[in-house]
Subunit: 392 residues, 2 copies
């Protein structure tokens, strides 16, 4: 009985990233892991979450253990709406859908808008794990070049006017992997192109709060609140990934429609962990938690930048991200991040070849390095090993 | 900016059940709710879950709050594999994928096997919330009639031989809504038809453990362990729905492939609640918990059956389920479960019109009644109100 031939056509577009499988396999032995985008457990607010879980299971267990509303726990939706409003994006509760991680938010939006023949606009590079989602819907990917200020809104606007364009996916703040933040002066023009062409924008604000330089970046949607776009945000980076609590916000009728899709997909996000996150938030823990993460990750970023300077100074370049969790190392053009990976793994250090993030196929000479997971000592050692791998 | 016209074609097949919306709306005022399939909170093992959550966040928080393996928490997969093996379905860990509720298991299988033009075989009636999943993939539904012993395996075999058939979805034990269990003598013939035709079977074992009569029903797969089928099972009914921990088991290559699909959909099931459920299981709580639920729900079923006898005896018929959470009330043919709903809601009692469960459109004179949610007093009162609605 060969089920392989029984699959729907779309399964031909469902692929795992083999290199990620290799990294995962190798990661079973001890190595210094700059590959995975794992928050540092030292930043987990474990005591506050333990208290919140205990409280929820003490005084709200009848609801917290039961089936729940498909749109998500209403007080949490209220909180997200109020928070977006405070950040310059006037939002009502019916404009917020709770999803099981931003990965699901992206998948639901893709499922709602994309089909074979659709053209998807995305930054080049872009979030690695969004690419298999888009590919699974059989779309054509149209990559938009970036510079230190993010994408060029007029180039994006011209691309939006191409036939078949169904969605633009962007990460406006503390971009993964490039580390860039879209310049303020590019924001309104980008949104105006969306309004003129009617192309929906999905902005991924996963790293919005993780900022290590002065200034508070605003959600992209705040640049022109009268222009409807879809925003996906998450508590994975600020509270804990395992809560699987994220949100999608946008025009109420679209949120309602995607909410119906969400409901048939998995009924609703986790009612228990939604309540745990909501307790955490309403106890007022978030601002101190964000401060703590900023301080922790800023320190690690600086250790990483100094290690790069020591080991790669004058021989390679790298991004200096103002936020997020990643930086990109650019080697001389004759080097290949893909080709060097196996040797690096043998030397006990892992990264992700940068080319995987480029729908265009560019970036062969780059490596994406997560700077928040490893300890300071491991960062020093890991970067030294990387240099040995590259230069020996 | 009209996003309605921007949706992918498949969104034309994504519909909410309007009647369910009505019930939900009405349920905001107090009523006796026989509609929702909600486990009785009195059956939640809240103290054991509280202990498990506390333990996990005390000694395993670094992993329990982090991103995790896409296939699921390995000790939990081991447990499911061992449990299936013990029940007569030899299963290895790589044949088990942890999913976020059985709803997601069904959606993932549908996404893997169904596309416009596919024919889906399903019992008539079948699980209400599976129907919008199948419909969302643009399939043609081919309903299979049932009797007290479940579906007819030879009729199913003949249907499997029709062109375009891509999947058979069945609930072999304690069927929702009919309450039937597939007769032992029909099981192997059904699986042999699958083996001969190559049509994958997805069996939904959500209610396997909820049995109130003598005998332990086996998973369908145990009837012919050499014939590969897909089984979806869940801890929602035995532990708590809000854990969102369920599993899909089947041939290893198919599980691996669907695991890749699962990963792009939402990365992985909830790492925290997977560990909470695993602690609960490995502490040995499940057998006593299942006994407790059986006793609780058996009592409610019997109260419900007596109330029906008092109020509907001689004027209607109903199922006498040996397990599960639901029974079906069959009114005289001139009555309509759909037409009576609004009046019932006005009288403060909710049910789901049975016709919604029938892909064939049959069942107009039926009502699905959940017998586990309401208290004994509310069951008596609710059934009396129903009789008033029907007979006055």
């Amino acid at each position: 009985m060969d089920w392989e031939e029984r699959y729907a056509d779309r399964m031909g577009w469902v692929r795992s990233l083999e290199i990620m499988d290799l990294i995962r396999l190798m990661s079973q032995r001890p190595l210094i892991n700059f590959a995975a985008g794992l928050p540092d457990p030292a930043g987990f607010p474990v005591e506050a979450l333990k208290d919140a879980a205990d409280e929820v299971l003490t005084d709200d267990w009848r609801s917290a253990l039961q089936y729940s509303e498909p749109e998500g726990y209403r007080p949490l939706r209220d909180w997200v709406a109020a928070d977006l409003t405070r950040r310059g994006v006037p939002t009502s509760t019916d404009q917020v859908l709770i999803v099981s991680g931003s990965q699901q938010g992206i998948d639901l939006v893709a499922r709602a808008f994309l089909q074979p023949g659709s053209v998807l606009l995305t930054e080049d590079p872009t979030y690695l794990s969004a690419l298999p989602i888009f590919r699974s819907f059989g779309v054509e990917m149209s990559p938009l070049a970036m510079d230190d200020g993010g994408l060029d809104p007029d180039a994006a606007g011209a691309a939006m006017r191409q036939p078949g364009v169904k969605l633009l996916y962007t990460m406006a703040n503390h971009h993964n992997p490039s580390g860039t933040t879209l310049s303020d002066d590019r924001r309104r023009p980008l949104l105006e192109h969306a309004a003129e062409t009617g192309v929906p924008i999905l902005v991924d604000e996963a790293y919005l709060d993780l900022r290590y330089e002065p200034g508070e970046p605003a959600p992209l949607a705040a640049a022109a609140p009268e222009i409807p776009i879809l925003t996906v945000g998450t508590f994975s980076k600020t509270v804990a990934p395992a809560m699987r609590v994220a949100w999608l916000a946008g025009p109420a009728p679209v949120i309602e429609r995607i909410g119906i899709l969400k409901q048939l997909t998995d009924l609703h996000a986790n009612p228990f962990t939604q309540r745990v996150v909501h307790r955490f938030l309403s106890a007022g823990h978030l601002p101190a938690q964000v401060d703590r993460l900023r301080s922790l990750y800023r320190g690690k970023r600086d250790v990483f930048l100094r290690a790069l300077e020591r080991n790669f100074g004058g021989r390679a370049t790298w991004s200096r991200p103002a936020g997020g969790m990643f930086l990109m190392l650019r080697l001389p053009p004759e080097q290949s991040g893909t080709a060097l990976l196996e040797k690096a793994l043998e030397h006990g250090v892992a990264y992700v070849p940068g080319s995987l993030f480029y729908p265009s196929g560019d970036g062969e000479n780059t490596m994406r390095l997560c700077f928040v997971s490893a300890s300071a000592a491991d960062i020093d050692e890991g970067v030294a090993r990387l240099a040995q791998v590259v230069w020996s």
